[in-house]
Amino acid sequence: MTPVHPSVVLRTSALVAGYEPDLPIVKGVDLAVERGDFLVILGPNGAGKSTLVKAIAGLVPIHGGTIALEDEDITARAAHRLVGAGLAFVPQTENVFTTLSIDENLKLCAGVLPAALRAERIEAAYAMFPDLAARRAMAAGGLSGGQRQMLATARALLIEPRVIILDEPSAGLSPKLVGEVFETLARVNATGVTIVLVEQNVRAGLGAAKSALVLADGRVVHRGPAAGLADDPALGEMFLGRHAPQGWAA
């Protein structure tokens, strides 16, 4: 048993996950996210980044290891019950209900909160994202890509999560919008919310994050502060080859 570190919000131990039991994509990942951290998970295509976060969110079957949210074991807990436990996940695509209005999108997610808190939290979300407040009754399908990402983030923040996990929020957005999304995330992180981010856009991801984790072939090949990693030649090598370069602990 590893002793529970009080400041660790999310921990995975020897996590093995994948859609098929005999074809693991995540091959024994140990992860410890400190409270207030902004962690970016990087790695080449097929490294298992998305599968790792989806497994944590209860969307991909787990075949070994454990996941804990603070001192609570949440391994293989149903996805809809993780929200109440304080784990919010924002998928890469289709992350808002297009046929529901903005208000309904937020009300739906507020459903896991005690009734007395719902209206107050929704107003707080609107205060954080005034663009959304101006369009409450509009169907979310009419929003632009950046606004959808905003709504998806607002939806996740509504529950005041202990940790919020985002799967490539910058995918398909223009460079300007990518900048806005990362600014928003930095703002959210500054309020004390722990963020875990999967990102293909290495520079933008490292620019916003405090710490980084690099995956290759379903395993952790590097972990450390985000600052300076962008200029580390080993990182480039990482993305070209798929193996851990010399000097990096696997």
Binding site: F97, T98, T99, L100, E104, G111
Partner: protein, 300 residues
């Protein structure tokens, strides 16, 4: 051209529409065509019949209507029982296919089997001889323009309107309605939003079964009760659900009214033997011209 065809069409359409709401909801949430849905119509009628004939009180007609208060009580209980039957059918049959990730076609064929079994059970218990809630004669009221309707028929139109409004409000204003729409659009995202998808599925079955039972009781009151009463409505139900746009409750009722009116006008204009073909014709035309239906949304 007889204006009476309009009244007949509206009444037939109201019943088709009530049944089609269940079809459209189960289709949009579970993504398969439930061929057993027609049986809920018949089971609803037989549940009510069994309750009325077993209890045997409150049979004296109320005011201008042909039935007593017992039928109203029996109709409500039949709706609850049929809703329960639908939930049970899902639990025993479809849930196990879902958990195994079975292909849609397996669900469809399973529903076909369930349909036959449910119908055969009715024939076994009640025989296939048509039965009636009431033998009272009703005098039709003149509505002007050559149209007539019995008080029962007018009441059934009103009840349909109330039920449809109720379902519409449930879907648009309540938390469970919001959850149903969310699951219908994106079940994975709904889970991430904290929605218990299995609970939503139970609600959809219950609601669909109850509404089908209401249609069954009405049809039993206005026409007759027989084991095939639901199965024979299956094609019009699907035509209405697809015509209105899968997932849309106002669409289902609008589709039902259009199919009912088309049937009624076809009887008037080309002959009663063509009635059953109308569902096919409407379905084919919609699929050719506007596959997403009148009120259906194109996926974005």
């Amino acid at each position: 051209m007889n204006a009476q065809a309009l009244i007949d069409g509206l009444i037939a359409g109201a019943m088709i529409g009530l049944g089609a709401i269940g079809v459209t909801l189960t289709y949009s949430i579970l993504r398969f065509a439930n061929f057993a849905h027609g049986e809920f119509i018949a089971w609803g009628a037989y549940f009510a019949l069994a309750l009325v004939s077993t209890l045997g009180v409150g049979m004296d007609p109320i005011g201008p209507f042909s039935f007593g208060w017992m039928l109203i009580v029996a109709a409500v209980l039949a709706a609850l029982l049929t809703g329960g039957l639908a939930v049970l059918l899902d639990r025993l049959l479809f849930a196990s296919f879902r958990s195994r990730g079975s292909a849609t076609i397996i669900m469809v064929i399973a529903s076909f089997g369930a349909s036959m079994a449910l119908r055969a059970l009715l024939e076994f218990v009640f025989t296939s001889k048509p039965v009636y809630f009431t033998r009272e004669l009703q005098i039709a009221v003149r509505l002007g323009g050559g149209m007539r309707a019995t008080p029962d028929q007018l009441l059934m139109l009103a009840v349909t309107a109330v039920l449809v409004l109720g379902v519409h409000l449930l879907l648009t204003r309540s938390a469970i309605g919001r959850q149903m729409r969310a699951v219908s659009e994106n079940p994975t995202l709904a889970r991430l939003a904290g929605v218990d998808v299995r609970r939503v599925i139970r609600w959809v079955w219950f609601l669909g079964g109850s509404l089908a039972a209401s249609a069954g009781v009405m049809s039993g009151l206005l026409v007759q009760i027989r084991p095939y009463m639901g199965f024979d409505l299956l094609l019009p139900l699907f035509a209405a659900a697809i015509l209105g746009g899968i997932g849309s409750v106002p669409g289902a009722i609008l589709g039902g009214l259009i199919v009912g009116l088309c049937e009624s006008f076809a009887v008037e204009l080309i002959g009663a033997e063509w009635r059953a073909a109308v569902g096919f014709v409407v379905l084919t035309l919609v699929l050719l011209l506007r596959p997403q239906g009148i009120l259906g949304q194109v996926a974005r």
